[in-house]
Every structure is written in C-alpha cells, then in structure tokens.
C-alpha cells in the first residue's frame, strides 16, 4: 500500500515542479529503404515511418493520460541519411530530407533527426554531399534536424570537415537570415556522437541500434531547482553534500518516471525500450532552467568563478541518482547549457557575466557543448572552425561527447538580440574575441590524431 506522504511527494513534483517526460524519441532504421531509384527510396521511407511509428503520438497521449504526466515532445530518429543515400547526389539527398519532413508531419512529430554524417576519420562522397546540402535542407525543411560527427576519441579530429562546416554554418545562416539564422539551430556538430540520444537536434539512430527503439529524455530542470528551494526552506544552511544528495534523490524519481513511460510506450508499439537519457534539458520558460539550478546552488551570477565546479557537481549528482534508478541509462546524460533555450543563461549572457570562454570551460564538465549560442553574423568560417575544433578537442581528450550548435546571426553584432522562437528561445549575440587569429592552424586541414589513452594529467 502506498503511503500518503509518497503520494503527496509525487503529486507535488507533477503539479508544482513541472515534472514531465521531455522527449519520447522513436528510432527507426531506414537502411532497408536504400536502393538505386530515389523515388522508390522515398516511398519506402514514407511507408516504413508510417507503419512503424504511425501510432507514436496517440500511444504517448494515452499513456500520458493514464499516468497524469505530460509527454512534451514526440520525435523521430532515423539512420544516418549519408549512408542511406550514398551515391544519389545532391538531388537525392534533398528529396530524402523532404520525405522525412513530410513523414514527420504526417505522424504528428515536431522534429526528425538523422540527416547525419559520421566523418570523424574521413569523408565518403555521400557524406561530403550531405554536408554540402545542409544549407538547402535546413532552410527548406521545417522538421528535419542534422548532425555531423567530426571527431572521436578513437579517431581524432577531422579538420577538413570542420572547416567545411564553418562555411556551411555561414551559408545556412544566410539562407535563413529572415529568422536570425535559425537553420543553424537544427544542426549539431559533434565529437563522440551517441547512437541513442533522444534529444534534438542531435538525435539519430546509430548503426548498432535495433530496427526500432524507444529512447526517453527525462524531465526538465524545474524539478531539481524546486527540490533545492524546498531543501533550503527545510534546512536553511545546507552543505554542498546535502545539496548533492537532494539532487540525487530528485534525479532518481525523475529517471524512474522516464523509464516507466518509455517502457510502456515501447511495449504498446511492440518495439524494444532503449535508454533513458538523464540530461537536464531546459526550455526558455521561467522555472525550467539549468541556470536557475546553479542560482539555487548559490551561483547568483552564472559565469562567475565557481560556476564550473557547481555545474560539475550538479551533473555528477544527476548521474548518480539516475544510474541507481535505471539500468538502461544512455544518450548524452548530462546537464545541457543551451544559452538561448535557458532564460537564466540567456540573462547571464545579456548581463555580460557569461562569456563564450566560460561556456567552453563549463562544457568540459557537462554535456553537450556550446549549445544554442548566437554569435555575430560577420564572423568568418575560420573562426567558427576554430571554435568547433576547440570544443571537439575537449570531448576527444576527455572521452566524452561535446558538440557545437552555434548560430552566426546575419546582420547582427555582439549585444543585439537574436530571436529563434518557441523552444529555441532567444539570446543576446555573444561577442567572439580574437577573430582571425587561428586561420593558419585550421586551414592546414588533415586530421588531429587520436589522443593518448594513458598519462592522463
């Protein structure tokens, strides 16, 4: 029999602390759709998505009702399109992107990830083609999300691809200039890309994944923040150990909810359950911010010295609670710090507390990198490539995932406001210092070799 206080604790998380399931992402392998005729490929893709994932949205609604818990986003993750469409050229790639866009709309999901290329060690013609089509695809489609893995701990860092992507970001921003370069918000450039990440824009179905799978992104940061506020109310001077314990306990509960919903969605759709991703993913809403957790921990000006340590502690406590709650943890599983999508971080940037350099430092202790950062539109490709390479190096050397989702905002300079809308939020454009100081390095091309795996100091 349940105890009254247990019921009340869960109800409080649901009603007052914004407990929800952030993302139910249905992974579907599309490799069997490959073939020489692009029209047939597109037909097969359409049919397969419809037959395998057509019931995703109604099933999520039904389970959401049963448990009285919102399932905020329903998404699709598909096999890397570069492999599926190898040999089809630009036209074929863009047709597949349009098909994915339509299929996602047909089944009622808001985003589909998998317009992806894995080029950490080198590029095939198809991968090079896909990268070349990114500006077109990201500006023409509504729901398609793209990702490129440019580095890995095992392979090193592909500087040729990074330089190419510096140009791609500028072109994509230019093609979506009327929306402050929004196309770039749908492109994630990774080091050590996970194969089972349920979060957009970086989700895709890895080659080692099942035919179909349901992966879950757990609730947002509001629950953790409110738990810390409650802790301070009941214990005016908590130690950092008390705070870590409270975060752990909250993460346990949140993860359990994610796994419960994920397993039931998977069972009803007749596919395996994959993983719960423990990442705290903010939205622009007040009360749903990782920055606000840092503030609740005592970092009132986010970006001040101590911010990295606080974030490291938060991330670690979330993982410890989540790992105990579920044996199926995966994906990115770290705190996200996407600037425009997090009101407290966006505010810290606007006030000048949080700089690009500090954000980079913070990404060394959390996933997922320099995320949703608006930079001046006049930045050049070399500088963008340098930023991507730096972020990739953090991931490669530390054996973790890092990524860059950066938007050079056309016609805007540091201090101007960039507005992406909806879940993508808005942010002041960050200044980038020391422009044009590393072009000679990034333009040399080739690959930065894989790092040493011993002598870890």
């Amino acid at each position: 029999m349940l105890r009254s206080e247990d019921i009340i604790a869960t109800l409080r998380m649901l009603r007052q602390e914004n407990l929800d399931v952030r993302a139910v992402t249905f992974g579907v392998n599309l490799m069997e759709c490959a073939g020489p005729d692009i029209s047939q490929v597109c037909d097969k893709i359409r049919r397969k998505i419809s037959s395998k994932a057509g019931r995703l949205v109604p099933v999520c609604r039904e389970i959401s009702e049963k448990y009285g818990i919102p399932v905020v986003n329903k998404r699709l993750a598909v096999s890397a399109v570069s492999a599926l469409a190898e040999g089809h050229g630009e036209t074929g790639m863009t047709k597949i992107a349009a098909t994915l866009d339509e299929s996602a709309k047909d089944i009622g999901v808001d985003l589909v990830g998998g317009y992806t290329a894995l080029v950490q060690k080198g590029m095939t013609p198809g991968e090079r083609t896909l990268i070349g089509t990114l500006p077109e695809v990201l500006s023409r489609t509504e729901r398609v999300c793209a990702s490129v893995n440019v580095a890995s701990t095992a392979a090193g860092i592909n500087m040729d691809a990074i330089l190419l992507l510096g140009e791609v970001l500028l072109q994509t921003a230019k093609k979506t200039a009327d929306r402050d370069g929004f196309g770039c918000a749908k492109l994630v450039i990774f080091a050590n890309i996970p194969e089972d990440n349920p979060f957009m824009a970086g989700a895709y179905l890895g080659a080692g994944e099942p035919e179909c799978v349901v992966n879950i992104g757990v609730s947002g940061p509001g629950v953790v923040k409110n738990a810390l506020v409650r802790l301070r109310e009941s214990c005016p001077n908590p130690t950092l150990g008390d705070i870590a314990e409270q975060i752990k306990l909250t993460s346990f509960r949140v993860t359990r909810v994610g796994e419960l919903i994920g397993r039931e969605v998977a069972a009803q759709l007749g596919v395996p359950f994959g993983i719960v991703d423990l990442s705290l993913a903010p939205t622009p809403k007040m009360g749903d911010s990782v920055g606000e957790i840092l503030q609740a921990m005592g970092v009132t000006k986010i970006g001040s010295p101590g911010s990295t340590a606080a974030l490291a502690m938060l991330n670690d406590a979330v993982k410890k609670g989540g790992m105990f709650a579920s044996s199926s943890v995966g994906g990115l599983s770290g705190a996200f710090i996407p600037v425009s999508e997090d009101c407290a971080l966006a505010d810290a940037v606007a006030k000048g507390y949080l700089t690009l350099e500090k954000l980079e430092a913070m990404t060394s202790v959390c996933s997922v990198g320099l995320d949703m950062i608006a930079v001046p539109g006049n930045i050049n490709a070399d500088t963008l490539a340098g930023i991507i390479a730096d972020e990739a190096a953090i991931g490669v050397v530390n054996g973790k995932t890092t990524a860059v989702r950066m938007i050079p905002v056309p016609g805007k300079k540091a201090g101007d406001m960039a507005v992406f809308g909806g879940l993508f939020g808005e942010s002041v454009v960050l200044p980038v210092r020391n422009l044009r100081g590393s072009g000679d390095f990034v333009r040399q091309g080739g690959r930065i070799p894989a790092p040493l795996h011993s002598l870890k100091n």
């Binding site: 029999m1 349940l2 105890r3 009254s4 247990d6 019921i7 009340i8 604790a9 869960t10 109800l11 998380m13 649901l14 009603r15 039904e62 009702e65 049963k66 448990y67 009285g68 818990i69 509960r253 359990r256 909810v257 796994e259 419960l260 397993r263 039931e264 998977a266 069972a267 009803q268 596919v271 395996p272 359950f273």
Partner: protein
Amino acid sequence: MSPAKNYVLNVLARDRVGIVAGVTEAIHKLDGNIDAMSQTVLRGYFTIIIAATFPDSVLPETVRLAAEATGEPGELAVSVKLLDPQAAAEPVVRECDQFVLSIMGRDRPGVIARISNFLSSRNINIVDLYAYAESGQFVLLSQVMVPRAMDVGQLQIDLENLWKKSDFIVSFQHENIFLATNRVDFRGTGG
C-alpha cells in the same frame, strides 16, 4: 488446530496505551491464532481489524465479550463476524488496475459522498482512502481498483467535471507512477 473457525474482529475505542495488548491477549487465551491485523488511529480514536482462527467450540459472542472485557465497561466497541474465506480469494472487481485518486481544495460538506457515489456508479472499488480537513483545506487520497476495460481519459474528464468552476484539484493516475518514484525495488511493467 482442527476443526477451526475463522472470525473477523473489529474494535473501536478512544486511543490509549494497551488496547492491542489486551485484545490480542484475550484472543490468545481463547486459543485463537491471529492470521492478519491492521490498526490505525485517527483524531485520537483507535480502530483495529483482526482476522483470527479459533477452535470450533469458540463462538463469535465469546470472542466479542472477551475482547470487550479487556477495557473499562462501555469503552471498547467490538464486533465479530464469521470470516468467509472466499472474500480474500475473490477480487471485489475483476480484471482491474489500481489507480490513485487525489482531491484537494476548500473543505465543504458532501465531497466524499459525491466522489464515492461517482466511483461506485462506475464499479470502481475503493481499496484505501485517507482524507482530512485542516485550516479549511480538504485533502483526499485514495487507491481504487478500476476495471481494465474502462476509458481512463473519459473518466478523468468526468472527474474534472464533477467540481467544475470550483477550486478543487482532482487527479487520477495509475499507481505505477507513485510506485516508480517512491519504491527503490519497483520493476515496472511492459517491455
């Protein structure tokens, strides 16, 4: 102990130290063996329900008088019934899932009557219910058995409509959400 009789015994009294000790001692002296018991105290009043097995010769009235005699005259209200072994074997409602119903809002008369009539009209059985009013605020937490064929979404809409335009917050959720978030050993359902 054979042949034997199974009784179910209920005691209600103002709470004090020693009620359980007295009643269970009385059962023991009648060669009774307690199979299950559950007690609770609410607003200073004690109640207990006991299922026990007695020798065939022990009558319900004998048990009742022995239990009552452990208190002051008129202190303990005791009732004893023959236990039907089928009661535990057969679920009150078949093929059902357990849900948690919670109601919170400004206290007013008739809330429990209204909700329990709503539930019974839909063949939903209450298995546990706890309610209290404090500083004018009413809280009800209940675990109920819902027939599996029932449309939960529609039930939730009907529940919300019960107190439309009032400050009541009503929620109705499958119990697994509470088990998953509170029980370390919860293993869940489904794939």
